[in-house]
Symmetry: C2
Subunit: 273 residues, 2 copies
């Protein structure tokens, strides 16, 4: 397989450069991309060091590295751009278009996104994370009035990471509650959930995938058998449908996708911008 080295370089975390760079590369097959992220390249010195590192990364077959960058300072950018690479700067490309459209000059200051410029937003986020932790796995049920959403589903279907992601990304207060075998046998919603019906959102999962996940956790337990997983998943989906609870399957989705789809389906409004 062909190989190429890819750099993600930023004067801040590099997360934006990584996200868009990886999305773009995912459109190309048959090449193995070796990834290097260089965050906080925010001085001439660091830019020179990064440039040297790029120049040393020409592949055995002579191909230049690809560099995806988000660099605000033109001084730093000029240095990086002098490297022997296919240099793509996501800021440089669009700032002029936006300056024209907005009839404004850009302020040219590093680190204006992702920062805690907005203390209120920061607190909202932290409070939502704390909420998700306190209300994880049915640990507490007395404060569901202040929940934005209550995720329900069988054990290991993805409730916890989804709750945390909703908190971290959107500031949403998500509780989660496990639907147990006893709940399923009774074919009714647990009493505590009934009074919060409008906040319920179901997660389901392919039984084979659930089986694999549970096997990793409790090998060869009854809980992890494929037949048990099939039984629980079928029963919980029936419960969701019978109770008119919106739900989706986590099987082929990343946590980001589950959370974003959930926001669309429920119409919940994010509390962070």
């Amino acid at each position: 397989m062909k190989r190429r080295v890819v750099f993600f370089i930023s004067d801040r975390t590099g997360i934006t450069a990584e996200n868009l760079g990886l999305s773009l590369l995912s459109q190309f097959e048959g090449i193995h991309f070796t990834q290097v992220t260089l965050p906080f390249v925010d001085s001439i010195e660091k830019a020179v060091a990064a440039t040297n590192r790029i120049n040393q990364s020409i592949s055995a077959d002579g191909h230049k590295p690809i560099v995806f960058a988000t660099i605000v300072s033109s001084e730093i950018r000029d240095i990086l751009q002098g490297s022997n690479s296919c240099y793509i700067d996501f800021f440089q490309t669009f700032i002029p278009t936006l300056e024209e459209e907005l009839s404004l000059h850009s302020v040219n200051v590093m680190g204006r996104s992702h920062g805690v410029s907005n203390t209120h937003a920061y607190n909202t986020r932290i409070e939502a994370v704390n909420f998700a932790l306190n209300y994880d796995d049915g640990a507490r049920t007395s404060g569901y009035d202040s929940a934005d959403i209550i995720l329900i589903g069988v054990s290991r279907c993805g409730k916890t990471p989804t709750s945390l992601y909703l908190a971290m990304q959107f500031g949403i207060r998500a509780a989660n509650y496990p639907i147990t075998e006893e709940d399923l046998d009774s074919k009714a919603l647990p009493k505590i959930l009934k009074s919060h019906h409008k906040k319920l959102f179901g997660l389901t999962i392919d039984p084979k995938r659930l089986h694999a996940i549970r096997q990793g956790r409790s090998p060869d337990s009854r809980y992890a058998t494929l037949s048990q997983c099939e039984h629980e998943v079928k029963a919980v989906e029936n419960l969701f449908m019978h109770e008119n609870i919106p739900f989706l399957s986590s099987t082929n989705l990343s946590i980001e996708e589950i959370a974003t789809k959930l926001m669309v389906i429920t119409g919940l409004q994010r509390k962070l911008r």
Copy 2:
């Protein structure tokens, strides 16, 4: 203040479009941007609906909305591009450059990033989140051998969200342990931490900010007083320095920035790509 409507549109979650779009807009001051995210615009129908919504969003003073998009399908993109907007598509702009550089045609398939194409990576991530939850706030200390890092600091300095973010973003197993007043009075590391000295990373925070956070949580408690916060922060920073533990201040950093800086300082390698 001037106002403009901004759309983030994607055939998937829209997170990439949001991140880069917001980074770009953060470079412009004096305009209030009203933000609308439209994820999963993955059909002609949805593209037409989105276009109508864009066209209805021309501001009172006649300015067109700005659209930041990541759309793979040229059919869908053509429709959106027909809207009355300043349309910026992050894929369209760079795919041709990359096709030329890589001497390859892009596969033109939606949803190739963020997906769970890689089950191993997905499991690494979930396991790391579970680890962070199990080892939050000193809840458990018996498995520190399998921790990648142990965050330490006074109560409410940002340990928990940082641990969770490290897990979610990088697949890093981060435990966290609160340094109590008694620990600080004894001027020594808790015994359980001593044997894992190399994994320790300190977080500190401006005492005034800590005071505000604790006030929100336990109003008018001794724990929340400014003098108590000043005392604890000074003592914990002394402890970090005396014990040669790397540390940073969470005061002016977002969770993303704390986590990324920590990775740089410690040289920890991410387990997710």
